[in-house]
Each structure stands twice: as structure tokens, then as C-alpha cells.
């Protein structure tokens, strides 16, 4: 049971760190994409959306190969940190950031596209700087999208399984997250403990989604979160 508590804490830590990193990455990315017009835009959007449809094992498999010290990325990381990327918490964070990227970018993108450019134009003529335009106009008017992006990323990372199964190595306190602990209970025929974790996760996911729909500006009319 104490292993399960450790797994829960580790999962929460992973989800928090991933959400914060993704918010920092996804905001400028979504902003650029929303303003960008180019022939190649479809391809860039497709790349960002890939983790939505790829089986997580595909992503996990390539990350495993990439993280290997026989590869440039794994080698550079090991030289810098002295630590191996596969089977480490840092590796999981990196994997989760890639895996949840569309969940952060897409709500922000949709919201930025819909934002009326005239507000920003007026603000510019009034002499507002770029940063204060973003802080005082974009953030307040897109607040629901930020909440949704944060919430979806968080929830998606909590439920992450396939990627971690491939690159984690099941080390308690380091890479043994909730879904892996659950998988282990099921495989080891410990159905009672599996039930406890699975049901907890079900309730949590339900509450998270209900909360997100409340935040969503569409109120009761829209089903897709944006």
C-alpha cells in the first residue's frame, strides 16, 4: 500500500511539472501558430496533433531508442547530467511533454484564433507594450482556454500509461507511476488493490472533466473543450 502512495505522489508530481512546462511551451507556440499563414502550416499542425492519434507505444518505442546512450540525444544528456535518460524521472517528464503537447496547444490555439484582433490594435495605438497587451488583454479574455489547457494536460498525464510502460522501467519512487502500479496489481492478480486504484482514478478523471466543462465558456452548449 505504501508503494501505491508513493506512486500517487510521483504521478501528481509528474503531472504538475509537465503541466507547467507545457504551459510555458504551448502558449508562445499556439500564439505563433494562430497568427502564422503559410503553405506548410497544415504539416506543422499535423505534427503537433500526432500524439493524439499515435499509439503511445509507438511514441514510447522511439523515445526508448532516442534515450539510449548509443544515440546522440541520450549520449549528450548523459554527458551533461551524468544520469541516464531512460528509466529516470527526467525521461518521464520529457516523454509526457511530447505526449501531452496537443492537449495544451489545441485549446490555446482555438482561443487565440477567435480573439478579436481589434482589441489588440486599439491597445497598440494607445501605446501599450507587447507584454502588457498580452498580460492585460490576451490572458484575461482567453482565461478559460488556459484553464482547459492546464487541466487537460494534467489529467492526460495522470492517465499516461503506454509511454511510461516503454521508457519507465518500473522503479518505485522514480518511474513507477499510478497507471503502472495499477497494471502491476492486475498482472499480479492483486485485484483488490487494483480496484482501489482504478476506482480512485475513475472518480478523479470524472471530477476533473466535470470541472473543465464548468470552466469552459461554452457552458452547457458545447461539448468540445477549447
Amino acid at each position: 500500500m505504501s508503494d501505491d502512495i508513493t506512486a500517487i505522489m510521483l504521478t501528481l508530481k509528474l503531472a504538475c511539472i509537465t503541466s507547467i512546462i507545457l504551459l510555458i511551451i504551448a502558449t508562445p507556440l499556439a500564439w505563433k501558430l494562430a497568427r502564422w499563414q503559410h503553405k506548410a502550416k497544415h504539416y506543422v499542425l499535423a505534427v503537433v496533433a500526432l500524439p493524439l492519434i499515435l499509439p503511445p507505444t509507438v511514441l514510447g518505442f522511439y523515445l526508448l531508442l532516442l534515450f539510449s546512450p548509443q544515440n546522440a540525444v541520450g549520449q549528450i544528456w548523459q554527458d551533461f547530467t551524468g544520469q541516464q535518460l531512460a528509466f529516470s524521472f527526467s525521461g518521464l517528464v520529457l516523454g509526457s511533454v511530447v505526449y501531452s503537447l496537443p492537449f495544451a496547444v489545441q485549446p490555446l490555439y482555438a482561443s487565440f484564433v477567435q480573439l478579436d484582433g481589434r482589441y489588440l490594435d486599439v491597445a497598440t495605438t494607445l501605446g501599450m507594450s507587447k507584454w502588457s497587451r498580452f498580460r492585460r488583454i490576451v490572458i484575461p479574455s482567453c482565461k478559460p482556454a488556459f484553464m482547459v489547457a492546464l487541466g487537460l494536460t494534467f489529467a492526460h498525464t495522470i492517465g499516461e500509461f503506454g509511454v511510461v510502460l516503454m521508457i519507465g522501467g518500473n522503479i518505485p519512487g522514480e518511474t513507477q507511476v499510478l497507471s503502472i502500479a495499477l497494471f502491476e496489481h492486475v498482472e499480479a492478480l492483486e485485484y483488490e488493490q487494483a480496484h482501489a486504484l482504478a476506482f480512485g482514478m475513475l472518480v478523479f478523471s470524472f471530477m476533473m472533466m466535470a470541472l473543465l466543462y464548468r470552466f469552459n465558456r461554452g457552458g452547457g452548449t458545447s461539448w468540445t473543450l477549447k
Partner: protein, 250 residues
Amino acid sequence: MGLQRVLLLIISLGVSGQSFGQSSQVNIAVAANFAEPVKEIAQNFHRQTGIKPVISIGSSGTLFAQISHGAPFDLFLSADALRPEKLVQQGKASDLHTYAKGRLALVTRGKSLASLNAFFTHPQFTKPVAIANPKLAPYGVAAMETLAHFFNDNEPWPFTLVQGKSVAQTYQYFQAGNVDVALVALSLTAKTQGDVFAIPSQYHSPIVQKLVLLKGADHTDEAKRFIDYLLSPQIQSTLQEWGYAPVTDE
């Protein structure tokens, strides 16, 4: 129009799915470590008897869960003894037999092994070691028992223990270059580019792989013929090539 197409698809799936229940075949659920040998054995069996084995590969734990909930298999070839015995206890299976004994191997990269002791007790031995999860895989239990010969339980071990969900995934960690040392099934290491050292069997308790005939099987007769074939001395003598010890008695 779209709906019609979907319905047609569902119907055709249903029809093709029925062939699963027809005669002259046997549906076998097999643990991943024995998948390669069983494929070849099944081919020969098919040639000799005309009965077609249909093989589903999974980890023993997953297959056990599926069988407990009515998966339509006739035979279950587990990686351990515990799960088949449990199915017999629950009245869901019969005809419990040992069909192979697994062997453990150490795979490493870049240095050939003089002795296990020298390898593990080398002061610079701090690299991560990959084993199968001992809670899930009998090869993981054997790996832990082997390591316990060289390392004390009371002090922290000088390396990180990385666990794969199965012995196949553990081997994958080694093959992909993420670890340089792994303890896996000897049966997996045939095509490795690393150095293989077969662990002497006295280092761990035997890895006994058992099979059972499942109750409510659609092809009981075919399944029994497959069991006889698999346990025949002629097939058992080939298991050594695959990295297993044959079953001598029982």
C-alpha cells in the same frame, strides 16, 4: 448510407469471427517467452495432423485475467506454475502438465565473462541492471535469487534495478542499448549481439512452465493431441536448442 456500410462491416466481422469456433483447429494462449518455439512446433503439428493451431501471445498475467473472464482459448501455456494451478483450483481447467523448464541468462555488452562472481563484485560495477518484474514474471524471481547470491539484502545495492513488465521487454531494454546488463530468458538471446552467459541452475529455484486444458474448450480433442505432441520426447529434445531444459519426468 454511412450507417449501412457500418452495419455491413459489423456483420462481416461477426461472420469471420465465427471461424474461430469451428473444428479442426486449436486455440492456444501462450506466454511471450515461449512464443517463438511454439510457433515452429505448431507448424509441424499442423503438417502432421491437419489441425490448425491459432496462437495468441501475451504475458501470463494478462492471459490469465482474460481466461478467468471467459476468453475462448483451448490451451494455456503459462510462463509459470502458479497461474495454471490457480485455474485448476478454480475449476476452470484440467490436465496440468509441465511442458518446459526455463533457463536464465546474463547478457552484457563489450566484455566477456570470466565468472559471475568477478563480474558482479567488481568495484566498478555500478551500471543499471535490467530484470523482469519479479511480481509478474518467474524469470524476474530467478533473477532476484541469482543477484541475492552476490549482494547483501541489508545494504543498498551499488546499481539501479530496472524492471521490465515481462522478460521480453527486459531484453528489449538491452537490445535498444538502454542497459548494458540484463538477466533474461536464455530462449530470447539467440540473436543477440551481446555476450551471453547461461546462469547455472543452482543459482535459482527452477523456472517451471506449466500448461492447462481449459474447461469449456471448443476443441478438447485437438487440444489433447497438441499436449501429447508437445510433451513427446521427440519435441522435448528440441527444446534445448531454444534455451529450455526439457521436462524429464512428471
